[in-house]
Every structure is written in C-alpha cells, then in structure tokens.
C-alpha cells in the first residue's frame, strides 16, 4: 500500500499497517513531519474532549500510545511523558462544569480526579493562588510530535520517499490502483490519504470530496527554565473553545514544560486560511492566559513563536476509513487540533480495516462520505 503524507498520522498508519504484514511506501512531498505535525505541540489529551466519537477515539489512542511507549526504546525516542493534565477553573460555576463533564467522561473510560482549590498547589506549586478548583486527568500525556512521526516511520520499516509529491491517482475503472507522483507512478493495493490539512486536495485527485479546511494556531515558546510546571495545565474555557464554531480568535492556552526546559504556551485557534503573518492579538492572549495561570511567567521571555494549520472538518471529527466512492482509497486525515493524540488509534483502526479485522471502534461517525456533496 501507499500512504500519502509523512506526518504523525501517516506514520502511525505505516506503523500499524506494517505490523499487520502489509508492505508500505510513504510518499511525502516535503520532509518527514514537515507539515502540521511540525507545528504541533504533542499533547495527547483525553481531558479536553466531550463525550462522543472523538472521546472514544482519544481513549483508545491513549491506550495505544502507552503501548507504543512501552516498546523497546520507542518511548524515550519520542519523548513520551505520561505527565497528566490539570484543568483549572476560575469560578465555582467553572468547577461545577468540570465536575459535570468529568461524570460523562468517566463513563467513556476516562480517569478524572477532582482537585479542590486548596490542593491545586500540591499539583502545581507556581499556580495562581486564587483559582476555584480543578480536575486532574492522569491519562493526559505528551510526545514530541516530530520525533514521534519520525520514529514510528523508522520502526515501521516502511519505505519513506521524501521530496516526492503525489500529483494524481492511478485508476482501473473506478478503482484506485496507485498514485502518480512527480517522480513516477507507484502501483498499490490500497492508497491512504494521510495528507492532513491538504487531505481535501489529495481526495480531489481521486475525484471525491472531503471538506478539510485550515484552522490556524500560534504557539509561544519561552526561554529555557529550570522545571517549573509539572503537568499540562489549562483553563476550563479551553474545552468550550475546542468545540467552537466561532470564526474569530479563541484560545485558552495549555501551559507546559518540555524536556528541553522551554515552556510551551498554545495554542490559539483562528480560521484565516493559510496566513502565516504573526497575529499580535493571538500572542497577547496566549501570554495573558499563561500569566493568569502562572503569575511568575510574567518575567519570563518568549523567544519564539510558530504557527501551523490544523486540518478540520465542518463537524470537527476526523475522516477515517475506506471511501465507498473510490474503491482502494482510504482516508486518515482531518484530525484538527488532536491529530497527534489521535494518530495511534487512527493507524490501528485503519490497519484493522485494511486487513479485514473487526474494528475496535465503530468507524461510522468518521466515514468519508458523511458530508453533503457540494457541486
């Protein structure tokens, strides 16, 4: 089979497909992890998802990531850290909201531990003293996304062809039988569209529509510091933002330390197409929110900011599985702001689908032809 896209999703698909015995070639027009994966933060979150198909996928993926991390050397290579997430609320209503959400999340297999205000600094000593309470999610974890993609690809043993662009599909009748690239044709029993934000374009090469749009995000990176923040920490409004349909700028920053010593603050969410211009408004909000949570960060310098474009579908769910409109074509794209977290389960489910094994999760909510056709 051929996988189009060498991001974290393509890499996870390659890994699980190879493990299922398939021969895999990955075609990537740029470098490994050079797309949105190279702009992501590496949060593997279950905490920010409301009950539904995405949460089910996240819970499955969280377990798969833990398994991957336990494999020889892989956990260290991808900098897997099961550090847990702490969601905090500023008001009593916020705390109540968190508690309500946690009840539903627990029913889906999520571990959630209530943290009263007085115990917050036990989790995070530098947290602002005036927060109303929080919820701790031990399953929330972290990987370094670029290394994750690269090491999954390496472990898969797949042939990786960087600098090669897929320009068309090989067809036999309605069936997709391979890809056309700028370096020649590649025949394949199956083609997986793991082109992330560009998944719509790759789908169009096969004559099918998958509506994927970019949602911009900025991340702020601080100067390196001694360990200051232990978990992933964010404010409760974040959960509401993630599911929002608002076109404008929204963000509730996830604040966390990294093994390199820098603190990552991100990310904003805006629908502005592929515009890379630095948004002062986005940075300002990220900085404000980070200081609100950790007042000591006010004196810490940001040394870097970067942006990426999350691949999103109108219903905020990814597209996973075979395309009934084009036999031989499968999709694994559109994971929006959670593609790193959801990559492991996506690869796993896709491999099950390719080998005819019964899927661990119903793929119906993720089917590629669920959107109304546009002319």
């Amino acid at each position: 089979m051929v996988i189009v896209g060498g991001g974290v999703v393509g890499a996870a698909c390659a890994y699980y497909a190879a493990r299922a015995g398939l021969t895999v070639t990955v075609v990537e027009r740029g470098a490994v992890a050079g797309g949105t994966t190279g702009a992501g933060e590496g949060n593997l979150l279950v905490s920010d998802k409301e009950p539904g198909p995405e949460l089910d996928l996240a819970v499955l993926s969280s377990a798969r990531w833990a398994e991957l991390a336990a494999e020889d050397g892989l956990g260290a290579a991808v900098e897997y850290e099961p550090k847990g997430g702490l969601v905090v609320a500023e008001t009593e209503e916020g705390v109540a909201g968190l508690a309500g959400l946690a009840v539903e999340q627990r029913a889906a297999g999520v571990d959630a531990v209530e943290v009263p205000a007085a115990e917050l600094t036990g989790y995070e000593p530098h947290l602002a003293p005036d927060l109303a309470g929080g919820m701790f999610y031990p399953q929330d974890a972290q990987v370094q996304p670029m290394l994750a993609a690269a090491h999954l690809l390496r472990a898969s043993g797949a042939e990786v062809r960087t600098g090669v662009t897929v320009t068309g599909m090989l067809r036999s009748g309605d069936r997709v039988t391979g890809v056309r690239t700028d370096r020649g044709d590649l025949a394949a029993g199956a083609v997986v569209n793991a082109a992330g934000t560009w998944g719509g374009e790759v789908a169009a090469l096969a004559g099918v529509t998958v509506p994927i749009l970019p949602r911009r995000g900025f991340i702020l990176v601080t100067e390196p510091l001694p360990p200051l923040i232990r978990h992933k920490v964010y404010a409760a409004e974040y959960v509401a933002n993630v599911a929002s349909d608002d076109e404008g700028l929204e963000s509730s920053a996830v604040v966390e330390g990294t093994p390199a010593g820098t603190i990552l603050i991100g990310a904003s969410r805006e629908r502005v197409g592929f515009d890379r211009t630095l948004s002062m408004a986005a940075l300002r909000r990220l900085a404000r929110q980070a200081i609100r949570l950790f007042p000591a960060l006010g004196d810490v310098a940001a040394i870097r900011a970067y942006c990426g474009f999350r691949p999103y579908c109108p219903d905020h769910l990814p597209v996973i599985g075979p395309d009934p409109r084009a036999e031989g074509l499968l999709h694994a794209c559109g994971h929006e702001g959670a593609g790193i977290g959801l990559a492991a389960a996506t690869g796993h489910l896709l491999a099950q689908s390719l080998t005819g094994a019964p899927p661990d999760l119903d793929l119906h909510p993720f089917r590629p032809d669920r959107f109304p056709e546009h002319p």
């Binding site: 100067e223 390196p224 510091l225 001694p226 010593g261 310098a301």
Partner: protein, 83 residues
Amino acid sequence: MSQFVFEGRPVPFEPGQSIGAALTAAGIRSWRTTRFGGRPRGLYCGIGVCFDCLVTVNDRPSLRACMVEAREGDTVEGGDRDA
C-alpha cells in the same frame, strides 16, 4: 575607576564599557555553563546575537553581558535562570 561585583569579586570598568567587555578585560573568559553539557561560555559574537554571554545583573536574569553597560555597584552573576 568604577567597579562592579562579579560573584563576590570586584571588577573594574571604564565608563561606557559593557559588562562582558569588563569581565574579559579582567581576564574572566567564561561566566556561565550550558544546561546539558555543563560547558563554560563567555563572549562569542560580541554584538547580542549569540546569547552565549548571559548574566544576571542585580537579580535580572538572562541579560546579554555584551549589550548591558556596566554601572557602578552592579552585582553580576554568571548564567541565566536555568543555571
């Protein structure tokens, strides 16, 4: 001649000199260690580009010694906040 205190010892400087220049003139070649390898560092680029020369001046961390003019009575320590 004016002086500032670097890690307990007086360092003379001429008015207008940077802290990094005064340290170098006093024979002090390094004042910070790297965070992974623990390697010593001092001036490299001399013009505020490389961030090798970081010092803490009067408790303000992560300043570039080659950019900050020395002032009488300054207390200077090597390193940034991660050291």
